[in-house]
Symmetry: D2
């Protein structure tokens, strides 16, 4: 039984505590931490009897009863805790982003590489969604030739006033940033953002829709329509165009209804419905791997690459130009 | 140029006059007839200058300027005109039914066979619908094995008060009666009608929905859900289950719209939209054949078989039993 | 933690032991039993340390360390164990069939009713398949009017030589028997079986395909195409025709591939793939309910009704007639 | 009856002669012209008795028996004939391109505007394809908000060795150039071409695939995946993303086949199949309009705009930059 400590007891933190406690196998939450003691106590309640409560994440990390750590604190707090966890050699599941700056990401990556052990998995849960896995598996068969182009949409019914233009990168397309390079097993070289005609239904602080274009080192070109106030649904699509075939991700099971001169089926409006199983699979996989002392999911390099690519996209949002993705060379440790 | 005379200038008659005049090639309407002179004149107007007007269909049939005849008069009037046309050896396109009784159908069939020439084509336009043709062609390849079962639906948004239970056979499933035996190239042996729970939205004179089951001589079993007050659309489906595959008829081109949390596409509510092209193709094919002195479409045997099968279905509506389809043996002339 | 005893350690028994041990929450297998000690030991191994091994199911049922019982023994052995479990008042999950004869089913039903407690859940796992639940939920909204007709297919790629005609009822359509009456909340009144033209790819002992028709007390008519040697896939479909709408079950997520002039998507060939999640949900729900001292899943009445309906279908396979489903009146205890 | 003269009797010319003669209403081909007399004679044969044969297109244009003209000669020959036709005030259907240079297009446009009569229709037949019309009609309802983005694919199974990179613009995406600005009723402002990873199945002279991006004056952004050696089919798609909905073009009727563990439907490999009806509709509409002395289809401005946009795209293929579409201001005459 893997003994897990959870840092950060906000909504997502409590969700992960509940997941580990009630929906996955092989782990239990033995300690939680939050800078707000009240929050930490609420988290501990979900975990059940005997769960320790910390307000200092360092103490949790160093608790000898804690085998592995889940970090769900705000992004700016990740770097320090990740470095501490690396120091004590414990496996970590860290919600995205890895860190809030590319420099910090690199610092963590260097520390992990220096430690000689793969310790950190990033919370890019979409890699565990059946639809993407089916496509990746299909590509891997080689039957369809090399992938050349990916067309994606990331549509969302609406966003609050607080959502601004760069968040389209950091909070929304960040998923495609990770997913797409993973699906075709390649890293990014350059990006571009096109601002089409804007919907009148978005508030002033946010450009919407946006078309983000990412090019991998081998030239695979990924276009992502990011439309966060599309009103009609949470509509995620992915089509990979290969040399001999086009592969389109399937849609989840839902009834087809003929009524009122219309054949219709539901489009989800809730990302937690679409990716519900993926969240569980992600944590289950991390638990299984951590128990075996390995990491199979998105790793520190992926987190670093996502950070650098996101920075380039934000720059491209303003410049309107093709912007390079300037990463260090991929360390052998991550190859 | 085939010179056509049209008998019957009601709605359907005028529609065929317009079709021959304006939408098909190789024929022109040179004479029309209707027991109501006013009606005949309206028909002639559509045909344009020089079109003769009759109130006596026999005169039209015998007019030496008329090469071929379209009969769109009420069903009870068909028999006499068909016999007359056979006598003078002119090609006929006759709207369904061939005649209103199986006996009359047989009389016409015998007369045609005796004449030694295939003269009559019945107005089962669905044989000219692309969707059915594609399925029939697929079956004919042999690639899918023999057809064993057909599942059909014939759904209609609503019917008037005047529509009664036997009309579900004579006006509605009559299309599947002809179509299904043609698609699998077999004749009927027995039928059954099941009355499921009834919709509360139908008026008193009509049972709705009904499930009609038709069995061919080789045992192919066809079930037709006939639901004429289904409210939601004119929804025609056909799936043929073969030994190695199931073949489902495609649907016409229509946009897919994502809006309000729903992905939807239109279900037609109008049979004339769905079969618009089929009506044109049917008449064009008859014109082409008549000009060559042949008949390729549904013939007199098909009309006779439909009449006998319909009678058996009406009997089965009342008896609840499996009823035989008692036809004479198929004359060699129609094999 | 619910302490579970499992009776029967064949393939399905071991699968349930693994499920309870590794894929569901809140229960552990503390005892197993099999008439073959070797089999029981294999089962115990999956459950892990401390699991007791019995060869006499009665001892397992009476073991005070066992809170609840899973019966996965051959059908003929169910009756006695069920009666024993009722005697000691323990909750049971029993794989179908409840018993092999309607009389035995009734004996168990009477005993349970006399005990005053709902103790037994039957293994009709399809009720836990998302697709069916979505349709049942849609019906329950009332938005579509009353259900009138259900069209189902139960297609299977192929069956072994040992599979015979009655097994099309007992092993195959038994699922639809339970599922369909549950979806529309009604019991059966009569049944019919139609034997269409037979596929040449089936062996001699089995009629295939068959069309089974079941009529509920309110007249809802269910047709099931049972085609167990269809070659092309495990193809389960369900369409419910209501007064205002037709509801068709969705299909599982799978990629759409355009290649070689074809747009295609996979049809499963394995029932355990299609219903994998359903098996887990079924057992999880039973564990949760057993822990609370209730039964929510298919109950003893459902098992009895299925047995009587299956008997009528087997009779109908031979008679070709509409056969009544002669159940006792539904006891108040099960309403 | 509109008396039509056809200039150019190559494959496409003969196809139009056949169309006017045998598949459309209200016109007949009374004269044909080709620089090769043999070709002209072949064309005349299709038109039937009495059709005049010219080798000088000017004579045909000036023939008083010719009411209207169809130009299907090579592109370089269009300009002179168009100017001549304008001079004599006859209606013209001109296959694309209008002229081979933007300057020539402008010359023709100026001449037509000066003549004060709309005389010329361009052969962009896709505007007559039902699928596009349905989408355009849907947009026009206003129900879905303003269009913001269009995603298109223009995939083709394979191209000959003679097909080179600029032809992806001039022969392939030229259709989307016309179609997309028409669908959203806007003109182009700038374009860009992205060269993704290249398929190894294309020959050396052609870059494939390409992503072409066109921006309208109001900012609507159109991306077209042009993949002319995709191997799998002639696969045309169009999705218009509006403020409240995404509208995807429907696909033509085709059977759905379940066989060998796969559900599949055909992807056409032949553009003449997909757009067969559109070619007929296009010519029929031109005949109807010419007879009434109007032009409803793609006009001279559309031809000029297409030429300028195509030039910008070819430039963008080489520069990799966003290139402006420098048209003159739209003359009032074309508004």
């Amino acid at each position: 039984m893997l003994r897990v400590g959870v840092i950060g007891c906000g909504g997502m933190g409590r969700s992960h505590i509940d997941r580990i406690t009630n929906r996955t196998q092989g782990a239990q939450v033995v300690a939680v931490s939050d800078v707000f003691e009240e929050g930490a106590k609420k988290g501990a309640e979900i975990a059940g009897e005997g769960c320790k409560v910390y307000t200092d994440s360092k103490q949790l990390i160093n608790d000898p009863d804690v085998d592995a750590i889940v970090i769900v604190s705000p992004g700016f707090a990740h770097c320090e805790d990740l470095l501490e966890a690396i120091k004590v050699g414990k496996r970590v599941f860290c919600e995205k982003p890895l860190c809030t700056t590319a420099d910090d990401c690199k610092k963590v990556m260097d520390a992990e590489a220096a430690s000689g052990k793969h310790l950190i998995q990033l919370g890019f849960m979409r890699r565990y969604h059946k639809g993407y896995i089916q496509i990746k598996d299909a590509i891997k068969t080689g039957e369809y030739g090399d992938p050349l182009i990916m067309h994606c949409t990331h549509r969302n019914p609406e966003v609050p006033e607080s959502y601004n233009t760069p968040m389209a990168v950091h909070d929304t397309v960040i998923h495609e940033i990770d997913l797409c390079h993973w699906m075709v097993d390649d890293d990014y070289e350059s990006v571009q953002v096109i601002m089409p005609k804007q919907t009148r239904y978005i508030h002033k602080n946010c450009k919407d829709p946006q078309i983000m274009i990412m090019r991998t080192k081998s030239g695979i070109t990924i276009d992502v329509e990011c439309f966060v106030n599309c009103l009609f649904g949470y509509d995620i699509n992915c089509e990979v165009v290969c040399e001999k075939a086009a592969l389109k991700m399937g849609t989840p099971i839902a009834p087809f209804i003929k009524k009122d001169a219309t054949l219709s089926t539901e489009v989800s409006t809730d990302c937690f419905v679409l990716f519900k199983e993926a969240y569980d699979e992600e944590i289950q996989n991390w638990i299984d791997c951590a128990a075996k002392g390995v990491i199979e999911g998105p790793n520190t390099w992926d987190g670093y690459l996502a950070a650098v690519t996101a920075d380039a996209l934000v720059k491209a949002q303003e410049s309107g130009q093709i912007e390079p993705v300037n990463t260090v060379e991929k360390p052998d440790f991550y190859k």
